[in-house]
Symmetry: C2
Subunit: 310 residues, 2 copies
């Protein structure tokens, strides 16, 4: 598959007419027909229903049209951004973080960093904990915030805090009627949703480990790619889910949350960075985080701060 084929298909899909599309593309009609045929051959699926005029897209063609349009827009955006970054003299500082930290202190930290270094272009990139290690080593990010512990010679990690875990129940679930902390053992036999399903090891494994260490076996375990989906399934009444405390800001109307009683049922927030970091902002960033924690923001509740030991 080549971008040319996507461009051609988009033109045909928009015009619903090969000849006119070919004109717009400044090529003759037969090569256009052939490229579309090749695309369909490769996919093994018909995209255009040619049995009637004006042409109609097949079901698969409609989907492909939608997607390829978005992809072309995204590529155009990448092209412009790359050009801009290449020509810009401003320094870039890229932060990789797992989604749940965006519900915690990251937005506030970025604000403080903006104030501290106005000439820095700060960028946030969502990224699983495990990806952060390689991204750091390959200098694709300068700082990472994750939830899974790992060891790597080149990467230093610092546990900022241990966040308590909560159980998400569908509204109306018998065990959701109390607002009190819940014992981990009450998950015995309950259907459980975990996330993310890839890449491993992830938060999903931390939860499974925690349960098996305590000898608790859920009734069923299903994996989904992201927390939104997980909470959607919880809201639909199909299952329960264990999430970090800060993430319970989501869906307050159709999902109920109960903190887990066991104080060791926690998930860490780990900051990681290159040992040989040349940009030399790490110490000041630690200081900004200390100041932020001192302000005791609401998302800090239910956490055991550890940064002071740093």
């Amino acid at each position: 598959m080549e971008l040319r084929q996507l461009r051609y298909f988009l033109a045909v899909a928009r015009e619903r007419n090969f000849s006119r599309a070919a004109e717009n593309l400044h090529i003759a009609q037969p090569p256009l027909s052939r490229q579309i045929q090749q695309l369909e051959d490769e996919l093994g699926v018909l995209l255009i229903d040619r049995s009637s005029r004006p042409l109609d897209l097949t079901e698969a063609g409609r989907f492909f049209y939608e997607q390829s349009g978005q992809i072309m827009a995204r590529i155009e955006h990448m092209r412009e951004q790359t050009r801009k970054i290449g020509l810009s003299k401003r320094e870039r500082y890229v932060i990789g973080c797992v989604g749940s930290t965006l519900y915690g202190g990251i937005p506030d930290l970025v604000r403080r960093m903006h104030m501290r270094w106005p000439d820095l272009d700060i960028e946030i990139r969502e990224m699983m904990s495990t990806e952060q290690v390689t991204a750091l080593k390959e200098r694709r990010i300068d700082l990472g915030f994750g939830r899974v512990r790992f060891n790597d010679r080149e990467v230093e990690r610092l546990t900022l805090r241990e966040e308590r875990l909560v159980v998400a129940f569908p509204k109306g679930h018998p065990k959701s009627l109390s607002a009190d902390p819940i014992a981990l053992s009450e998950l015995e036999g309950e259907p459980l949703i975990i996330y993310p399903s890839a890449p491993r090891p992830s938060f999903a494994d931390e939860i499974l480990n925690m349960l098996s260490e305590q000898g608790i076996s859920p009734g069923s375990v299903e994996e989904v790619r992201e927390i939104q989906t997980a909470l959607g399934i919880v809201a639909a009444g199909m299952s329960l889910c264990v999430i970090p405390a800060a993430s319970q800001r989501q869906r307050p109307d159709d999902v109920c949350y109960r903190t887990i009683k066991d104080e060791n049922a926690t998930s860490p927030i780990i900051m990681s960075f290159r040992r040989d970091d040349a940009k030399g902002r790490i110490e000041e960033i630690k200081q900004l985080i200390r100041e932020m924690y001192a302000d005791n923001p609401p998302w800090l509740q239910l956490s055991n701060v550890q940064l002071d030991g740093a």
Copy 2:
């Protein structure tokens, strides 16, 4: 730009070595070098720093690597999905909706539709109100939920309810101290964030119209692409923002919301569909929505239901 060049660049960026990358790609090294050069020429930006071995990516190259990897993954996903849809015999039903309706009844409606038609593959696609009209006409979606009124011969629209609007304040803003409804006139002179910036006309214009009709002029107006960004800027204390009531479920910790007193300060939820819809499920869907509204879910508060007139 062609996908081949993205594939080649990814291989070089991963290996940090042209010769080895060429081996992996089963081509010789010189053509690989040339393709990368062409890519760099087209972008007008150097992606790879060749002045030292092992090779290093430039700042722009790092960005391009990140992006093109994601794009390739997305294309792969599109290819598989297209194939699957093309071979599947199941019927697809695509719903286009603006983001804020996902905080309302759409998830519940989809659940009910799943139960009613187990053999239907229902798909949700985020889409601005204006895009929905063309998407309906081109049969890319079967049902739309939007916030902007429009007229089109082929498309029928039905106002489900009028949702009250609320103002978002940064925590600690003097006007956020009261929880009572706020008069629209109090926005006079305040800096305002509106969204989405494209495509027009959008919710942003509805807000601007409403204000100018009442003779209210905000201190400054800035446009952003999406509500997340808008609320982030509000949380950072830079501005205020007017949003539909159902969207106030977001960021409850660092943003305060006050309902607007004026009962006409509302935003409609509009369902739209093709007049000639062949799938013939519209009447049953209306019935499902009526049942859903009868259950009086929490997101229905602060809304004036209008569906009964349908």
